[in-house]
Symmetry: C2
Subunit: 288 residues, 2 copies
Amino acid sequence: MSLDRATMDERVPRDFETLRTTILERRESLPKRIAQIAAHALDNPDDIAFGTAASIAASAGVQPSTLIRFAQQLGFDGFTSLQQVFRERLRERNSSYDERLQALRAKAEGGAGHRAIFDGFVAAASTSLNDISRTLDDAHLEDAISLLAKAETIYVLAKRRSYPVASYIAYALGKLKIRNQLIESAAGLNAEMIGFATPADAVIAISFSPYAPATIEEARSISEQGVPIVAITDSSFSPLAQFAKVWFEVAEADFAGFRSLSATMALAMALTVGVGEKRRDTGRKRKA
Amino acid sequence: MSLDRATMDERVPRDFETLRTTILERRESLPKRIAQIAAHALDNPDDIAFGTAASIAASAGVQPSTLIRFAQQLGFDGFTSLQQVFRERLRERNSSYDERLQALRAKAEGGAGHRAIFDGFVAAASTSLNDISRTLDDAHLEDAISLLAKAETIYVLAKRRSYPVASYIAYALGKLKIRNQLIESAAGLNAEMIGFATPADAVIAISFSPYAPATIEEARSISEQGVPIVAITDSSFSPLAQFAKVWFEVAEADFAGFRSLSATMALAMALTVGVGEKRRDTGRKRKA
DNA sequence: CCTGGAATGGAATGTCTGCCTCATTTTTTA
DNA sequence: TAAAAAATGAGGCAGACATTCCATTCCAGG
């Protein structure tokens, strides 16, 4: 009993990723019905893991025998061995994101020592990132970037808890050679600084509850001068929202009374780099 | 055809969590062999999902018929329906952390528009958090917190990219009523400020490659005064590490040339709140 | 110590499984 | 266009499967 060389030389994919890559590589060269199964398999891996050859074949619209031929073509000795790979994928895949977070939170609440505190902040940051990734509105992002990209100078306005974000935005804008002005409260010259802003400029204002009165006041004053504002805040009732042309609602999780900044940071970076890219593109177009 | 009332009234657990709870509730009242299976099922849910009645029974050390009786006792009409619940659990559990990150990264690389940039930063932040969660040394954390908790004044030293973290630490320490001094470069009075520090104080210094020369220089000068330093940096070759009593290696992922700050932030928060807690505890002990 | 009923073990059963084979169709090659 | 090769469909078969049934064991109550 001897298998032909081609079959023997072929390494049988033992893990899902390899299998996936193999299938995608050969996609073009596969017979019609086999390709049909290949597509179905990659689209519904869970069905392959749990179904029977007959049920899978039916839902892929082919004969069971074709399914077996598909498996054999990949180097498996039958459908069952192929199925093992799909099952292993479910079995070995890490605990879900939620389970991981739950574990972290459990450690943070029940755990002793300072490691628990650390875990709590990591969990809060992860949760925040997860939330914003789900809820961020693409259109708002585009609008905000367009608005900021047109500005001559970008003013960055934030106090207290939000100030670290503002300082990072200022740093990043500087690195991208985008003219910007961080409005700090240090020297008490904010009113004068704000006075320089014109409708050709733009503002990134960041404030979360409890809103720093100074931030609100400055935002009002600068919006009355006709300067468009992009706001990052935490609810639609935020006083910042009413002054803003575009505003983002960012819900940050908190731990030990300190809210995370990770989601706000990610958004801030996206805005900054987005503006940088947009300016480069526009610049190129103008030159051309 | 009529089922007896007891069976009819009993709601069949349709999801894994309900099933789990039900089993744990009845644990005491279950016959020996059935309990044996119950324990095995909750300990090896994946095996129940994939195995056959015979294989599961064997690995639990019972007869297949007992397995079926177990399922029926829970209100299922057979082993197969019970198995569905275990399979559903695997099917519905969210895609793994890695898959989620890969998807984000894929979108960030392949995707168009500014959403891709945002996804990239979220992915970088998640990766960083994940990494630090794995690699952070609990002992270092304890050491650093002890060191900082004893300090009369905590000096916070960071420039450029790390400055946002420093400003957040300063903000948080302030909220916790812990005396601290942020060393900014603004007024050029850093040397004088540093001169005030004594060995009874402590420093949190943050710097990543390319290390801001000023930060290094100030760290050196302050350590020569005998002030202990807790450093957050990115490699053991960092010039900061040599001056530090305790140092943390934080590997931040980057996107579009900007490194994430999320891991550093989480660590910074943990240090800050950890010091706050330690001080409260010590205060209580002293009073008592 | 007996006894009735529940719990358990193990073999019997009928269904369904994966896989093979072979006839038929489609595609490729000459 | 004819012949050869590959791909496909469909039925059949051996084995594995979940389940049932019945004999045996265990255990509480008298």
